[in-house]
C-alpha cells in the first residue's frame, strides 16, 4: 500500500501522471509542494488573506478537474500558476463592477498622472538587504490599484510579454503598456519615499 512517504520522493511529472489516473494521494502531494507558491500568487493579486485562501483552494479543485488538459508543455507549477491567475483575474473583474472608485484611482487608471511625477534619479533600493528590499517592494505594491499591481506582477514576476498580458487581462496592448509604465513610475516614487523615511 502506497504511503505519503512514497509520493514525496517522486517528481512532479510522475505525480501528475498518477493524478491524471485518479490517484488523489499523488495530487495531495502536488498540493503540499506548491500550495505556498499558489497562495502567494493569489494573495499578491487580491491582497486579502481570506479571499486568497479561497481562490487558491478553488484553483486546486479546478486543476484536478482539468488535469486531463495538462500536456506537459510547461512545468506543472507554471500551469498551476496560470490557472490561479485566471481565477484571480475573474475575481477582480467581478469586484471591479461593485467597487466604488476614488477619483485618484480613476486618474491613475486613465493616465496622465505619471507624466507629472519627477524622474527618480537615485536608485532607491541600492544597498538594501534582500529581505528589506522584498518587504519594501511588497509595501509599495500594496499601494497600487488592482489593475496596476496585476500588470506589474504578470510582467515582472511571471515574465509574460505584453501580448500575453493583454490577452489575460482582456485589454489592449496599449493599455498594458501605459498601465505598466504608470506602475513602474509609481513604484519608483514609493520606493524613494520609503528610503527617505529611513
Amino acid at each position: 500500500m502506497s504511503t505519503q512517504q512514497d509520493y514525496s520522493s517522486k517528481a512532479d511529472e510522475v505525480l501528475v501522471k498518477l493524478s491524471q489516473k485518479g490517484d488523489m494521494m499523488a495530487f495531495e502531494e502536488l498540493v503540499a509542494r506548491h500550495r505556498d507558491k499558489i497562495y502567494a500568487r493569489a494573495f499578491s493579486m487580491v491582497k486579502n488573506q481570506d479571499e486568497a485562501i479561497d481562490l487558491s483552494q478553488e484553483a486546486w479543485v479546478k486543476a484536478w478537474q482539468r488535469l486531463g488538459q495538462f500536456q506537459g508543455d510547461s512545468s506543472f507549477a507554471t500551469w498551476m500558476t496560470r490557472v490561479t491567475i485566471n481565477l484571480c483575474l475573474d475575481y477582480l473583474r467581478k469586484q471591479k463592477r461593485h467597487r466604488a472608485e476614488s477619483i485618484e484611482a480613476i486618474e491613475e487608471e486613465h493616465g496622465g498622472v505619471e507624466r507629472q511625477m519627477p524622474v527618480v534619479t537615485v536608485n532607491p533600493t541600492e544597498g538594501l538587504e534582500r529581505s528589506e528590499l522584498r518587504q519594501r517592494i511588497d509595501t509599495a505594491l500594496a499601494q497600487l490599484s488592482h489593475e496596476h499591481r496585476t500588470v506589474l506582477i504578470l510582467h515582472e514576476f511571471e515574465d509574460l510579454e505584453y501580448k500575453e498580458i493583454a490577452k489575460r487581462m482582456k485589454c489592449s496592448i496599449g493599455t498594458v503598456m501605459s498601465r505598466l509604465f504608470y506602475a513602474r513610475r509609481k513604484m519608483a516614487v514609493l520606493l524613494a519615499n520609503l528610503k527617505k523615511e529611513e
Binding site: 488523489m24 495531495e28 498540493v31 503540499a32 500550495r35 505556498d36 497562495y39 502567494a40 494573495f43 499578491s44 488573506q49 485562501i53 487558491s56 483552494q57 478553488e58 486546486w60 479543485v61 484536478w64 478537474q65 493616465g111 507624466r115 524622474v119 527618480v120 534619479t121 536608485n123 532607491p124 533600493t125 534582500r130 528590499l133 522584498r134 518587504q135 517592494i137 511588497d138 506589474l152 510582467h155 515582472e156 514576476f157 510579454e161 505584453y162 503598456m177 501605459s178 505598466l180 509604465f181 513602474r184 513610475r185 513604484m187 519608483a188 520606493l191
Partner: protein
C-alpha cells in the same frame, strides 16, 4: 517627451521592439539626456522587482487545507448526472426548442394574416364605386353592382338593357 516616446523607451527596456525600432531608440537616447534619465529610472525599478517578490506562506496547515480541497473534489464528483428525464432537463429542453419554434410560428401566422387580409378601401368614392361583374342569364337584363367594405354590403342593380340609351349606361355597364 510625449507619452508615445516614453512608452517606446519602456518597450525598448522590455525587448518588445523590433530590431529597427530598438536601434532608433538607442540612437535617440545617445542624444537625449531626459530620455536617458527616464530609462535609468525604469531600469532601476525593473531590476529591483526582479526575483524580489516577497515570499508568503499559506496560513493553514497541510491537512486542513487539503481536507477542504478533497471535500470539494468529492462533492463535485457526486453531482447527479443528468439522464435527460429530470424536471430540470425537461424544462431546459422545452425552453431550448419550443421558444424559438413558437417565435417562428408567430412570425409565420402574422405573415399569412397580412397576405390574406383584404386590401383596405381608401376613399369613400372608391368604396362606393367598386364594380363587380355579375353574370345574368337574361341577356336583356343588365346589372351594376357595388360593394361597401365599411358596411360589408354588396348592392346589385338590375336594369332593362332596352333602357340603356336613356340611362346613359354603356354595354359594359359603366355609367358615362
Amino acid at each position: 517627451m510625449n507619452l508615445n516616446q516614453q512608452l517606446k523607451l519602456q518597450a525598448f527596456l522590455d525587448n518588445e521592439l523590433s530590431s529597427r525600432e530598438a536601434k532608433e531608440v538607442a540612437q535617440w537616447m545617445e542624444q537625449d539626456a531626459e530620455a536617458r534619465q527616464l530609462f535609468t529610472e525604469l531600469s532601476h525599478t525593473r531590476a529591483a522587482l526582479h526575483q524580489n517578490e516577497l515570499e508568503v506562506k499559506l496560513p493553514e496547515s497541510r491537512e486542513f487545507f487539503w481536507s477542504k480541497i478533497e471535500r470539494d473534489i468529492r462533492l463535485q464528483s457526486q453531482q447527479p448526472v443528468s439522464t435527460g428525464f429530470s424536471p430540470d432537463a425537461i424544462l431546459a429542453w422545452l425552453y431550448r426548442h419550443l421558444v424559438p419554434a413558437s417565435a417562428v410560428a408567430l412570425v409565420a401566422i402574422f405573415a399569412i394574416f397580412l397576405a390574406t387580409k383584404p386590401a383596405p378601401v381608401k376613399t369613400v368614392a372608391m368604396e362606393t364605386m367598386s364594380y363587380g361583374e355579375v353574370e345574368t342569364l337574361n341577356e336583356e337584363m343588365g346589372s351594376i353592382s357595388f360593394r361597401s367594405e365599411s358596411e360589408r354590403m354588396t348592392v346589385i342593380y338590375l336594369y332593362n338593357r332596352a333602357d340603356d340609351s336613356e340611362a346613359g349606361v354603356s354595354n359594359d355597364g359603366l355609367i358615362q
